[in-house]
């Protein structure tokens, strides 16, 4: 029998025939690996998961006319949109700003896509209904309060378009919008309706885009749009980007800290168990040394036991860690997560490193055992 086979026989026999004691250490490694893989999966998936969540904050990229132009062609904005990967584009909404009058008072009237805007501005609160007919509008909450208007009433707007004929048209207020932003002072109507009244079809003032991407990806995308679509000036919304980045960073630090603490606790648990094992096995260690085991053999056997524990515990942890990651991700984000393969390998390596580190001190203690003292029963 070669030395490797005998070595394996010694450490496996020790683990198998003394399994009740080693079960504690095995459990600690398995729990550590479970949490490591689970939290690690969440850590790496947070940007993707939160990217979608963050889109409820609103648009994070504005397409504006380049130079001093007041408007841009909608077709140019659509070209810019097509540069965004379909999976990452949550929504893109065109806006056209005009001025109209109600009772001689100037109001900002915004024409937009009433379906798309719900994706880019999901935080808008509508009292009443979204417009579905060409003559239906949304009133900003400030205007509605000042004019004492509410959903279901009518409002007559008038305007003289540049180079056009003065018109006066009655609209039905389908709902009151509250956004906490400038929309509270706007009148919002379907883009087609505004175009039919003001002329200049297919021209828009801005397009708001909501993209599930990191700040770095947005910056790269902006550069690409700038270079490839003349007439459009892309502007990432720094306020949104920065707050997203800050929240992401804090979440990741939190997950990181929890993972580190769990690994540390695992190390303490494994180390304590191994130290107890060394104390319990002082006679056995003394006997081994008495019959000729060198210190490196004693250390090697303890580390070997630790490594087998780490391998078994790590594999168990990878299995349970997958389900733990699913449970955490579904309960927090409402979506599942698949641990990346490299993280599985990293979990096994981390289990090994933590267990070996935890076993180093007990193994070193084992070498202090004097065979003569132990064999005399002291």
């Amino acid at each position: 029998m070669n030395r490797k086979t005998m070595y394996l026989k010694i450490i496996l026999s020790s683990l198998i025939r003394r399994r009740s004691r080693m079960m504690v250490a095995l459990l600690a490694v398995a729990i550590g690996a479970t949490v490591f893989l689970g939290m690690g999966s969440v850590y790496y998936d947070i940007p993707r998961q939160m990217g979608r969540e963050f889109r409820s904050y609103g648009a994070n990229m504005i397409l504006a006319p380049s130079g001093t132009d007041a408007a841009m062609r909608l077709e140019d904005a659509r070209r810019a949109e097509r540069l965004v990967a379909e999976a990452k584009l949550v929504g893109a909404t065109p806006f056209r700003y005009e001025t109209m009058y109600y009772n001689m008072q100037g109001l900002t009237v915004v024409g937009t896509d009433m379906v798309a805007v719900r994706k880019t501005s999901p935080y808008w609160r509508i009292q009443g209904d979204w417009p579905v007919e060409a003559d239906q509008i949304l009133l900003g909450t400030d205007i509605a309060e000042n004019a004492r208007l509410y959903a279901g009433t009518s409002i007559t707007l008038e305007c003289i378009p540049a180079g056009g004929k003065k018109f006066k048209k009655e609209f039905k207020v389908s709902g009151i919008v509250r956004s906490g932003g400038p929309e509270d002072s706007f009148v919002l109507m379907p883009l087609k309706t505004l175009e039919s009244l003001m002329g200049k079809p297919s021209m828009v003032s801005v397009v708001e885009m909501s993209i599930a991407a990191s700040s770095e990806e947005l910056a790269l995308l902006a550069e690409r749009i700038q270079a490839e679509v003349p007439g459009v000036s892309p502007r990432p919304v720094k306020r949104i980007m920065n707050s997203e980045a800050a929240v992401l960073a804090k979440l990741q630090v939190l997950v990181y800290l929890v993972t580190v603490i769990v690994l540390f606790l695992t190390m303490i648990c494994v180390g304590t168990t191994m130290m107890t094992v060394v104390m319990e096995r002082r006679k056995e260690i003394g006997l081994k040394k008495a019959i000729g085991a060198e210190n490196k053999s004693v250390i090697g056997e303890f580390l070997g036991e630790g490594m087998v524990l780490a391998a078994i515990g790590g594999l168990l942890g990878v299995g349970t860690g997958y389900f733990f990651a699913q449970a955490v991700s579904i309960s927090v984000f409402g979506r599942g997560v698949s641990p990346p393969l490299f993280l599985v390998a990293f979990t096994l390596v981390a289990s090994l490193v933590v267990t070996v580190l935890a076993s180093l001190l007990p193994a070193a203690r084992a070498t202090d055992v004097e065979p003569s003292l132990v064999l005399r029963g002291e």
Partner: protein, 226 residues
């Protein structure tokens, strides 16, 4: 016959206690020597020095012509491994290894584990049929025979036994002493530390220790054969 073991003016001092005082002893190759004495006489101290588990405070010790009294711990481990077969009063075995594996582990630390040779060693001590049993499945006498098989497996220059029958009943004591006789007949050098006159009576020479001093050397009392 050359001396396999030489102790020259060996003393061992633990703090204020002089456990061994100026002991000089030679053991020739193939000789069977018993070291006798009551509790506290220095028997175990002498056993630990000869067994390379402790170093003498004063004096020199030669084993197989090699001066071992000033070797470091690593070299003493090598001497224990290569030249000494240790047998203890308490049946020190590794609980999670089978009988044959307990023998093989001594081979493993020495050089290479050879299962066949280990099985033959167990056969020699009458444990061939118990080779795959764990120590807890063996009786005290069987465990002691297992320790003897383990002590012999690396063909030591010196078999050093500390009260080898101290925990055995009469029947098992006879079995163990028979094994020692066989070993001695095959040319093994045996040093037995004991307080039992009966065990000592098997030896060719008896050395008496009292209060750490070697007081006399005598021929064993002739054994009464029933």
């Amino acid at each position: 016959m050359k001396n396999i073991l030489e102790l020259n003016s060996v003393s061992m001092i633990y703090g204020p206690v002089k456990a061994l005082h100026d002991v000089t002893l030679n053991v020739r190759e193939g000789e069977w020597v018993a070291i006798m004495g009551s509790s506290g006489s220095g028997k175990t101290t002498m056993m630990n020095i000869v067994g390379c588990m402790n170093k003498a405070t004063h004096g020199t010790v030669f084993l197989d012509g090699e001066k071992i009294s000033r070797l470091n711990a690593k070299d003493l481990t090598a001497i224990r491994r290569d030249k000494i077969g240790l047998i203890f009063q308490q049946f020190h075995v590794i609980s999670y290894l089978t009988a044959v594996e307990n023998v093989m582990i001594a081979q493993y630390y020495h050089s290479m584990a050879d299962e066949q040779e280990a099985l033959e060693a167990l056969e020699r001590v009458g444990l061939g049929h118990r080779a795959r049993h764990l120590p807890r499945q063996l009786s005290g006498g069987e465990q002691q025979r297992l320790c003897i098989a383990r002590a012999l497996i690396n063909h030591p220059k010196l078999i050093l036994a500390d009260e080898p029958t101290g925990n055995l009943d009469e029947a098992n004591q006879e079995i163990v002493m028979d094994i020692f006789h066989q070993l001695h007949g095959q040319g093994s050098t045996i040093v037995v530390v004991t307080h039992s006159p009966d065990v000592a009576s098997h030896a060719q020479r008896v050395v008496r220790l009292e209060f750490g001093r070697m007081v006399r050397e005598e021929q064993p009392v002739e054994r009464h054969v029933a």
